[in-house]
Structure formats: structure tokens, C-alpha cells
Symmetry: C2
């Protein structure tokens, strides 16, 4: 079953015009009818969707990445990256996990999917993967510096509440898990190996 | 004392070039040196900063807005809008509160300030205002539909956890307040009238 793309709260209409094509961002404009019947130009950005994956080994350890990008502050998060043109989210997440960590996994489940920013057409899919195992060396390009960090579920919750945790889309779920015991155990079950 | 602008985790360098100027979004590009010494073109978007204000009456009721924008789903949140070119955040928040709600306030404090999206140069300032009182009618443009909703602090926490709550930058603080009694009372103090 294909993964459904989450909807935006304010979509780019199909007749919108591409007015600028950048390296990462495309800019669309359209004539929007306002509440009084007058029209004005609306604008919205489009960028490639993102996939994020928390991969879990059969011993329960979760694979995080400590990353640095040129000109940016270091951060810690899951593996992940862009869904390239013509690629589907599942293929992208498998590719990014392999490139960034050298791991493959047996099973990928979508844990969260949303369009986090109102004026940007941009979906973020967050997966939890099971049966993860190291099969290759890390394969980075010159714009990436990555170190792996294996953590337990309880350690992950603490790290997710740090300011330099990069997976902002799921922070709310980790905060709830920190404070609400029922939610914590439900989330723990999603991260527990199926073997 | 002027309000300090929060820093981005990956800033646009001062020698970046403006390659597209849109209605809402400007696109900048620059040559970035990578970890192996090679160079590539990096790209980042800039948009006007946003101010958000939770205004509190002297009876403790907090002014929220139920809003609809053309082509978008309805949402509930605080008052707020863009910091126009040449405007400072405090002037902007006073103007937006008056336009969207018809209220003025005696005191404005910055509760949260952040740049929420990595690849966008865009700061969001969230204020709590005290001594709020109705002084005028709402003054909307044809792109806005707004109804006021007065709520207690406890009602605000429940509303902030709904999916259609628009002030995503502070949702984490409301979740913590929901579950952690110490944080809830600390936050309640910020929303308590000073009279």
C-alpha cells in the first residue's frame, strides 16, 4: 500500500504558476479570491519532502546520528534526508539509512507524517524501522559529517528534549512520553524489537 | 532595551546573493565550502519575522482568535502577524493586537523567540501582554476572517493541544505545562494579571 502524503492546511492550487526554480526551493504564485471578492497574489514555497528514520537493532538499541553541516551548528537526530524527484518515501528512507549509517532494516513503519510549515509545501515522514543491522560503511558526501550514536529508548527521550535535537516534528510526542506514563509505554512498544 | 533577534542554526552569510524577490519569500544563494574544500551553491529563504501575542485582561481572561484565511482551513490561536519592513517587533505586536482584536495592553513581555525552520531565515516572537482592554473595533483586511474567543488559562492549555492551534512554536511549553505541575504553575504565573 503506498504511503499517503499528508495534506497541507493551505494547498497550492493546481493552476498556480512556478515563478522561480531554485536549488532547494521553488516559488509558486496564484491569484487568490479574498472574502470580499477582490483578488490578490498569494505565494507559497515548495521543497522536496523529507524522510526521517529511527532504526532499531534487535537488541533494542536505536541508531541516532550526530551531524554537522558546513556553516551550521552540530545537532543530533535520526538518519534521514530528501525524497528525490521521482522517488517514493519508502525507497528514500531505505537509501538514506544505508548512506548515512550503513544499516539496512527488515521493516519500516510510518510513525508520523505532516506538513509542518503553513506556507511551505513540504511533507516530513518519520519512520520507525526494525531489524536494523550494519551491512556497509557509511557513504557520505562532502557536505556531511556524521557519527553514529546507539541509545536506549529511555536515553532517546532525554536526547529528544535537548535543544540540538533535529527532529522537531516529533518532539511533542517525546515530551508527552516523558510525562505521561501511558503514552510512554505505548511509544516504548513501537520501539521494542519484534523478535 | 531592544528585543534581541534569535539566531539561526545555519545563517545566511553576509555575502549571499538575493536571486529572487517574491511577495513573501526572498531566495538567497551563496558558495559554501564543504568539508573536503570543494564548493557548492547553498540556498536559503528569507521571510518577514512574525509576532504572536497572548493578551490577558485584568480579569484573567486571555484573548484568542478563531481565524480563517482564503483557501485555508480554519484555526485557533493568538493574535499576530508580520513585522513589516523597518518595523520593530514591539511596534508590530501592538499594531497586530489592535487590528485583529481591537485591544490595547499596558505591558508586553517576550515569552519565546526562535527561528523555527532550519532553511528559512525567519524569527517568531511570542509575547504575553497584560492589562489588555478593548479600545476599538476590529480592523480586518479582505484576506482575514477573525472572531474573538476569551478563555481561562486552563482552557488555553487544552486548546493549545488541539491540532488546529496555530502557534506551533509554543505547543511544547503547553504540553509540558499540561503534564508537569511545577511548569504549569510557573506558566500560570506568567498569565496571571499583575493587578
Amino acid at each position: 500500500m503506498p504511503i499517503e502524503r499528508p495534506e497541507s492546511r493551505q494547498s497550492i492550487p493546481s493552476d498556480a504558476k512556478l515563478v522561480f526554480k531554485g536549488k532547494l526551493f521553488d516559488v509558486y504564485q496564484w491569484e487568490q479570491t479574498l472574502f470580499d471578492g477582490t483578488k490578490t497574489t498569494f505565494e507559497k514555497i515548495k521543497r522536496l519532502d523529507t524522510v526521517v528514520v529511527f532504526a532499531v537493532q534487535d537488541d533494542g538499541m536505536i541508531i541516532l546520528t550526530e551531524q554537522e553541516q558546513p556553516g551550521g551548528l552540530p545537532f543530533v537526530g535520526a538518519a534521514g534526508g530528501r525524497v528525490e524527484q521521482g522517488e517514493d518515501p519508502l525507497s528514500a528512507v531505505k537509501r538514506e539509512l544505508l548512506e548515512e549509517t550503513g544499516y539496512e532494516a527488515d521493516e519500516y513503519n510510518v510513525w508520523d507524517a505532516q506538513q509542518p510549515v503553513g506556507k511551505i509545501d513540504w511533507a516530513v515522514y518519520t519512520f520507525i524501522a526494525h531489524g536494523a543491522r550494519k551491512v556497509a560503511e557509511i557513504n557520505l558526501d562532502a557536505g556531511e559529517k556524521i557519527q553514529l550514536k546507539l541509545v536506549t529508548f529511555d536515553e532517546l527521550i532525554d536526547i529528544a528534549l535537548q535543544e540540538n535535537f533535529s527532529e522537531r516534528e516529533v518532539v511533542e510526542k517525546f515530551i508527552e512520553a516523558k510525562y505521561d506514563n501511558t503514552k510512554r509505554e505505548a511509544l516504548r512498544a513501537l520501539f521494542t524489537p519484534k523478535v
